[in-house]
């Protein structure tokens, strides 16, 4: 009898300890979230709604002491709120009390958060129904649309050349991205790198770098490169290249991670070395996904190349910028139609190719 109960408690302890630790972590997370929500609410109400809208201040005054005071206040409110187990965060993390107070808090505070966010967004965006429907504005827009729909074919030659430039920029960026993305993808595939600590460290660092590079839009890269190598197609190509390498390495490595491990095991069991395993068990499984992703990125890059042209990356975007600056809307119309057509064709063609591959 004694023995049995001892065994029972033995088994019960680790489970309870694990659960307790889990609850504590949830409690800490909930506290942080509550503090953040309180801070956010007070700040939004005070600055966006009171200062900007009610007092209609142009330049919002900023003082560290005031913000600090608000932060301390929200720490107190947040901590207390979590402590009572009635807050929104407690509900989110599943540690709220099951009573009326908790229920009402969640409902009222939830709606309050949504409302102030919406109102603050409205005020910040300076939404104005009046200017949307003002007579003068509508007339201007009508004139512009009219011009867009009666494109000026006089610049057809120039536009065509610029468009071809854009397509080539995208193509070269995509092609040049393949080798580096390929190499990087093998080093950022979890299933290949998790085996020992050293390779896992490489995997981790590369992942962080790639995530960082990818989080910077190609447009920003274009600005950086147009300073570096000068405005023009080369800067645009480099911008697309960097962005495509980072994005494609990610897609490629995901393809590697989702391969069938069976052939890898079978071939490593024959005594093949690592290079042979990669070449004969992994590569045959990933060529088609790789090809498909690459075509997809060419398609995306054509669109991006037009946008990048707007900030000095060459091609059709550049031309669009010039005519827009001169307010020659009929020329702009031609360019817009041409872009839309090419994007549509690319989309269709790349879709069909990718369908055929699979």
């Amino acid at each position: 009898m004694n023995e049995i109960s001892a065994m029972g408690s033995d088994r019960a302890v680790p489970v309870a300890a694990g659960e307790k630790a889990g609850r504590r972590i949830k409690y800490i997370k909930a506290t942080f979230l509550d503090i953040f929500l309180a801070f956010y609410s007070i700040l939004v109400v005070q600055r966006a709604i009171y200062d900007r809208f009610i007092l209609d201040l142009r330049d919002l005054p900023f003082s560290w002491t005031e913000t600090g005071a608000i932060f301390i206040l929200s720490c107190v409110i947040g901590a207390w709120w979590t402590y009572t187990r009635t807050s929104l965060s407690c509900r989110l993390f599943g540690i709220a009390k099951n009573n009326n107070v908790a229920e009402w808090t969640v409902e009222i505070f939830g709606w309050f958060l949504f409302d102030i966010t919406f109102i603050a967004g409205w005020i910040t965006t300076k939404i104005s129904i009046v200017s949307l429907f003002s007579g003068e504005g509508v007339q201007g827009a009508a004139r512009l649309f009219g011009a867009l729909f009666t494109p000026q074919f006089g610049i057809l030659n120039d536009a065509l050349f610029a468009m071809i430039e854009t397509i080539y920029i995208a193509l070269i960026a995509t092609l040049l991205s393949i080798p580096p993305a390929l190499i990087l993808s093998f080093f950022t595939a979890r299933n290949l790198m998790k085996e020992n600590k050293f390779t896992y460290a490489i995997y981790y660092i590369l992942r962080i770098i790639l995530n960082f590079v990818r989080s910077i839009e190609a447009l920003i890269w274009a600005i950086i490169f147009s300073v570096w190598v000068g405005i023009g197609p080369f800067a645009g190509m480099l911008a697309l290249l960097v962005h495509t390498i980072a994005s494609n390495a990610r897609l490629y490595s995901e393809a590697i991670e989702s391969i069938d491990q069976g052939p890898v095991e079978a071939i490593s069991a024959t005594g093949a070395n690592r290079i042979q395993i990669v070449w004969h068990a992994i590569v045959p499984q990933i060529v088609l996904p790789f090809l498909s992703y690459t075509i997809y990125w060419w398609d995306i890059n054509v669109r991006m190349a037009t946008i990048i042209g707007l900030v000095g990356g060459g091609g059709i975007g550049n031309l669009l910028m010039q005519y827009q600056g001169l307010a020659r809307w009929r020329e702009v119309g031609l360019i817009v139609i041409m872009i839309a057509f090419v994007v549509w064709v690319m989309d269709y063609v790349s879709g069909r190719i990718r369908e055929a591959i699979y």
Partner: protein, 253 residues
Amino acid sequence: MLLTVRDLHKTYKSGTHALKGVSLDVKEGEFLVVIGLSGSGKSTLLRCINRLVEPTSGTISFLNQDIAHLKGDQLRKAKRQIGMVFQQFNLVKRRSVLANVINGRLGSLRTLESIFRSYSDGVLADANKCLETVGITDYANVRADTLSGGQQQRVAIARSLMQNPRLLLADEPVASLDPATSNSVMQYFEKINKELGTTVICSLHFLSLVRRYASRAIALKAGEIVYEGSPDDIDQTWFKRIYGEEAEEVEIV
């Protein structure tokens, strides 16, 4: 003795103690079958023998070399002499049958040679011979995944034959095949065992197959060997001891 396993333990990272001191001797030319319930450690044992799984402790002596403690090139050399056939065939689906068979030889080819697929005539002739052994010559150039399950498993057997293995491991090779196909695939193992003299260690689920093909059987239960001997001596009492009281034998033809 071809293979001597002593006090083999395997504890997975998850904490599962899958093998608890397994000791085993396998003579040249034997057809040893491993039986046991799901989770009893059959796959773990077979995979420790060719180091697809790292043993936690113990020794695995194969041709007087301790496989459990080999590294790098020496480990690969040892692996070359041990073929393996899997339940899921594990062929490279998009490649041809012939390419899959040649994959079995990779361990003995130089890296560059294998990357450019510039195989010598000898290798190609061997591959065709292995395909002949399992009766698949007609399909040498079709994609592996267009074959039926039984045919794919035969290709996998041909791949392991490309290694000229001294020992052939088979982990539930017929578990995803229908009964008739199972029997025909098992007959190829028998043929390899009898005609080429290759030692076979195979895990199986159906006792009727065990009785028909095994020269010796061992039974695992929760990571320990609970039976060792002739497959014909596994009577009702033993059966219940291995598979539990509720189990009942099902026949497969």
